[in-house]
């Protein structure tokens, strides 16, 4: 039965030591540990949250950059298309211009040629007239007697010439 009767001395030491241990540990022991662990947990949670936010931001930035890239590509395409159109326009314009110029030049040339021809014809005519006058002079000097006959021939010749030329 002595096992079941608490001993006064041990009871005293137990109350004393357990009390001291309890007071010390509840002041400097367990609350410090629990507080530190909880603070660390909070810190980790915060870090995770900020990491998640940063990730989200990064994803947003990526999406935006992709959008910008797509926009740029579209713009580029549009510019290229426009350039193509403009090129064709320019080429066709140039074509038109060139053909018009060529046409003009050809006309000018024909006009010039015609003018030259007429000028030449006129020159030839005066030359021929001079020549025929000279011929007539010579003919008249040599065979004045047969005047009528000669004039007939000359006129005949002259008419022939002018007819064929005009």
């Amino acid at each position: 039965m002595s096992l079941l009767t608490p001993d006064a001395g041990l009871l005293f030491w137990m109350i004393l030591s357990f009390g001291i241990v309890f007071v010390i540990l509840s002041k400097y022991g367990f609350p410090v540990i629990i507080k530190a662990v909880e603070q660390r947990k909070e810190y980790i949670d915060q870090s995770l949250e900020s990491a998640r936010q940063a990730n989200e931001q990064l994803a947003g930035i990526q999406a935006e950059s992709e959008k910008i890239l797509a926009q740029a590509r579209e713009q580029q395409n549009e510019i290229l298309k426009q350039a193509l159109v403009e090129k064709e326009q320019i080429i066709s314009e140039a074509h038109q211009k060139a053909s018009a110029e060529a046409h003009l030049q050809v006309e000018e040339a024909t006009r010039h040629i015609r003018e030259e021809k007429e000028k030449a014809i006129r020159e030839v005519r005066t030359e021929i007239a001079d020549l025929s006058v000279a011929i007539a002079e010579k003919v008249m000097k040599e065979k004045i007697s047969r005047t009528d006959e000669q004039e007939k021939i000359i006129n005949g010749l002259l008419d022939n010439v002018s007819f064929s030329k005009s």
Partner: protein
């Protein structure tokens, strides 16, 4: 593979030989081979002692004398080492009573020649073991707490990590679960109780000097622990708790002429901590008793011949190993159960409408 098997076989044979050899030596060097007072060996361990007996070497007892602190009604305080009282010696009229009401305790022969028991605050074996484990507990917990102060926002490893795991598990899994929302003021107390019981249980299992004191297997220690839980439950109880005890929700005839139900409920207040006290005390004491009894089996059978003694030694060692493993489990389990039940009792006293 073969070599590993051989290695195991070697160690097994070695242990077997050691087992058989040891008791023969013990039997031949003892004063009276074959006469082993098992009850005395077991009870002298289970109960308290004024000296810390370590071992016996060549017939010479090696033990640490502990201070005896007594207060006599006639002569006041007195303090001396327990070595003065060895072998029935009388010192300052104090001696250890051989038999009677105070057997094994320091008693005083007063001026009228009567044997009276003085107020005995001696640092007995259990008291010293208690102080030792309190020191270890303080060292461990304060060192862990200091680590956190030095390393804010860091995760610990090694022993500190183990401590963190245990502290947080008890705090969140036992205290918070048992008490509920208002658990914070009690978490320090319950954590202290848990680690206090755990450290004392574990040190109690160690068979050599600094350990081996039967601290948590002593009723005075468990009584103080249960008393603290009793105070924690009843000092901070809510009105609803007291109403349920003195005016429970039961038929009127059970309450009015004869307060049967209030009496039963009131008795329940006392039985809960009483059960806590007895459970821890009985579990640890029984564990120590069984291990000691199994070890004594070797010395009991020493006189029965080498064959019986040898086989019993092997059986005893195997059983002791098994019991030690079991006690390791019980040490953790009892600390856990005490904390869990304390938390639940406190939680029950925190009822709200």
């Amino acid at each position: 593979m073969n070599r590993i098997k051989n290695k195991y076989l070697f160690w097994f044979t070695f242990l077997l030989l050691a087992c058989i050899g040891a008791p023969i030596n013990a039997a031949t060097t003892g004063d009276e081979p074959g006469k082993v007072d098992v009850q005395d060996i077991v009870f002298s361990h289970i109960r308290d002692a004024y000296t810390w007996h370590i071992t016996e070497w060549n017939g010479k007892e090696i033990s640490i004398p502990l201070p005896v602190l007594v207060r006599s009604e006639e002569r006041g305080w007195d303090m001396f080492l327990s070595s003065h009282l060895h072998h029935g010696n009388v010192h300052h009229n104090y001696y250890v009573a051989g038999e009677g009401e105070h057997a094994g305790k320091v008693v005083e022969k007063n001026s009228r020649g009567e044997e009276v028991k003085p107020l005995d605050l001696s640092l007995t074996k259990n008291a010293v073991g208690l102080l030792l484990s309190c020191g270890i507990l303080l060292f461990i917990v304060l060192r862990t707490a200091r680590w956190y102060k030095k390393h804010p926002y860091e995760a610990p490893g090694g022993f500190t990590g183990l401590m963190e795991m245990a502290v947080m598990y008890i705090n969140e899994g036992v205290v918070k679960e048992g008490i509920g929302k208002e658990y914070k003021p009690f978490s320090s107390y319950l954590l202290t109780v848990f680690f206090f019981i755990l450290i004392n249980n574990l040190i109690g299992i160690i068979p050599i000097f600094p350990g081996g004191a039967n601290v948590t297997g002593n009723i005075a220690v468990t009584a103080v622990l249960a008393g603290c839980t009793f105070l924690a439950v009843n000092l901070f109880a809510t009105k609803e708790y007291w109403k349920e005890i003195f005016w429970p929700n039961a038929p009127l005839f059970l309450k009015l002429p004869l307060p049967i139900m209030p009496f039963v409920e009131f008795f329940g207040i006392l039985t809960k901590p009483f059960a806590l006290m007895i459970r821890l005390f009985a579990n640890i004491m029984a564990g120590h008793t069984i291990i000691l009894a199994l070890t004594c089996l070797i010395f009991i059978t020493a006189s029965m011949g080498v064959a019986i003694n040898g086989t019993m030694t092997v059986v005893s060692v195997l059983f002791t190993v098994f019991m030690n493993c079991l006690e390791l489990l019980v040490a953790c389990l009892q600390a856990y159960i005490f904390t869990l039940l304390s938390a639940n009792y406190i939680g029950l006293a925190k009822v709200r409408e």
